[in-house]
């Protein structure tokens, strides 16, 4: 596997980029083959594994997952809009905040949708639970069991240190994981060109496995901290800490579905 050194760190400069859209000018280097990228401290930050998912498997996943239909109204930063108060039908301002309806309409036009599979940790008004999409469409999860297990295996192989950490966390609550893997949840994003954002709901200090599917060109993932982009294709998997590393997508053409396999931040509390 090729190893590159991420020498120049723009962590200070990228704080202002959150919520803004990635541009080609933000990229100095593009990963296109199996590579691990390390920072000066020797820590592996990004691992791209190319052609590791059999075609039949990611095509099946695309078929099963492509019909997600929830609009990303709870992700204003990733959408690139602001979190605004809603205007109710009677013209009054609602206390609820989110992506403006006008923006959601534009996203719907582009076919943007999201969905969650697996388990979610407890929120202020709900205990740990299976996602509604999993309850309604168990086949979306069950049909991809071998894929999820393969991703677990690849994670163990390519990023053993964070894998061990994640396993220790999730083994506390074995009933809240997907088939003995280190993942509790899968986030699906269809035709979602994201602005720079952090994934705040994921467990910190470990990695998220990102897998694109579909038929598209473009859509590289940009990590402005190192002026790095990742040109991954169906069959490839990217591992990186999405809670700590700001990321977003370049525009793409075609149909693109992206799946993020991760462990919920407070999943360890579910057993208590």
């Amino acid at each position: 596997m090729k190893t590159i050194l991420l020498r120049r760190d723009h962590q200070d400069a990228v704080t202002d980029l959150e919520g803004k859209f990635p541009a080609l000018s933000h990229v100095r280097k593009t990963l296109m083959e199996t590579t691990e990228a390390r920072t000066k401290d020797g820590i592996v930050r990004v691992v791209l594994a190319c052609n590791v998912i059999p075609t039949a498997w990611h095509k099946l996943a695309y078929e099963l997952w492509n019909n997600v239909d929830e609009l990303p109204d709870n992700r204003p930063t990733a959408v690139g809009s602001a979190s605004l108060r809603r205007i109710k039908n009677d013209g009054m301002l609602s206390g609820r905040r989110g992506v403006p309806r006008r923006t959601l309409k534009v996203l719907r036009k582009h076919g943007t949708a999201q969905g969650m599979l697996g388990y979610l940790d407890a929120s202020s008004n709900e205990a740990c639970h299976r996602t509604p999409l999993t309850k309604d469409h168990p086949e979306m999860l069950n049909g991809n069991e071998r894929l999820i297990k393969l991703l677990d295996e690849l994670y163990k192989l390519y990023a053993p240190v964070p894998y061990k950490r994640q396993r220790a966390e999730i083994e506390e609550v074995p009933q809240w994981r997907l088939w003995g893997t280190v993942f509790s949840t899968i986030y699906l994003a269809r035709n979602f060109r994201t602005a720079y954002h952090y994934d705040s709901g994921n467990l910190k200090g470990v990695m998220t496995a990102l897998m694109p599917m579909g038929n598209f060109t473009g859509g590289e993932l940009v990590l402005p901290r190192w002026r790095l982009s990742v040109a991954f294709r169906p069959g490839d998997v990217l591992f990186f800490d999405s809670t700590e590393i700001l990321h977003g997508n370049l525009p793409f053409k075609g149909h693109r579905l992206s799946a993020a396999f991760y462990c919920e931040k407070r999943i360890g509390h579910c057993g208590k």
């Binding site: 020797g42 052609n51 605004l84 013209g91 071998r146 060109r193 002026r227 525009p251």
Partner: protein, 265 residues
């Protein structure tokens, strides 16, 4: 079971795919199989130059005679597994040490280059050259010093360009659409806030708050801004919390608008 060996697709240890779509790492499956050997399991010793997994699997399906079988009942002993794992861990740790060293070396060159550039600026070219040869000459040649200085200048220039180019935002249609609709929505909300008519004045200044002129000005600015409704709610909640904490009675007039509660409290 007939097994196929996956051409190395960048994995340190190759994965074996079986006909039933299961898989296993080769080291766990067959300890006698060396990395050099697994290539020989197909095509009689010639490495199979397949970069794409699907093409490779297709080849295997089309040429089953080239796939050797092996006894997959051979399992790695716990001692062997532990030893393999220990070696893997050590190699990974040493990789990190080497990479850290390489990074520090590069960083050190840049730092030396910056210091030399500064010396040159302070001493002027003639004196600088003699300073390098007299004082530093035993450790660094003038030629090397010049290379470091050039590298430092390049690094600083590129850092500057990098910082500037990060300021440019994307201008594709998708990004423009989202920005435009968000701006429209913001304008709508602002007009909605302004349409609400004159709000009842809350006599904040009658509250026992030690506000100086600057504080009062800041409060006035906040009350005129679109963030006021939310700030107001927060303020009322905080006042209620304090009243409850200090056991003060809260009188509420049901008929009045809720913003008056803070003043009454």
């Amino acid at each position: 079971m007939k097994s196929v060996i996956l051409e190395n697709v960048g994995v340190r240890n190759p994965i074996i795919f079986f006909g039933d779509n299961s898989w296993q790492r080769i080291a766990e499956k067959d300890p006698s199989q060396k990395v050099a050997g697994w290539r020989e399991m197909v095509r009689g010793g010639k490495p199979v130059p397949y970069k794409r997994l699907d093409a490779f699997l297709q080849y295997i399906a089309d040429h089953p005679e080239e796939v050797r079988t092996f006894d997959d009942s051979v399992a790695l002993s716990p001692e062997d597994t532990a030893a393999t794992k220990w070696v893997d861990d050590q190699v990974a740790k040493l990789d990190a040490v080497i990479i850290r060293g390489i990074a520090q070396r590069a960083e050190a060159k840049i730092q030396i280059g910056r210091a030399l550039n500064e010396q040159k600026r302070l001493l002027g070219y003639g004196k600088f050259k003699s300073h390098v040869s007299d004082v530093l000459g035993s450790m660094i040649s003038l030629r090397t010093a010049e290379r470091y200085m050039k590298a430092a200048r390049k690094e600083d220039d590129e850092s500057k360009v990098d910082r500037l180019s990060l300021l440019k935002s994307a201008s594709d249609d998708g990004a423009k659409d989202v920005k435009a609709t968000t701006e429209q929505a913001k304008a709508e909300i602002d007009s909605q806030v302004n349409q609400k008519g004159p709000r009842k004045r809350i006599d904040l200044y009658k509250l026992p708050l030690p506000l100086d002129d600057d504080d009062r000005k800041a409060v006035d600015v906040l009350r005129r801004s679109s963030a006021w409704p939310e700030a107001e709610e927060t303020l009322i909640l905080e006042l209620r919390r304090l009243c409850t904490k200090h056991r003060m009675a809260i009188r509420e007039n049901q008929g009045e608008e809720h913003e008056d509660h803070s003043a009454e409290a």
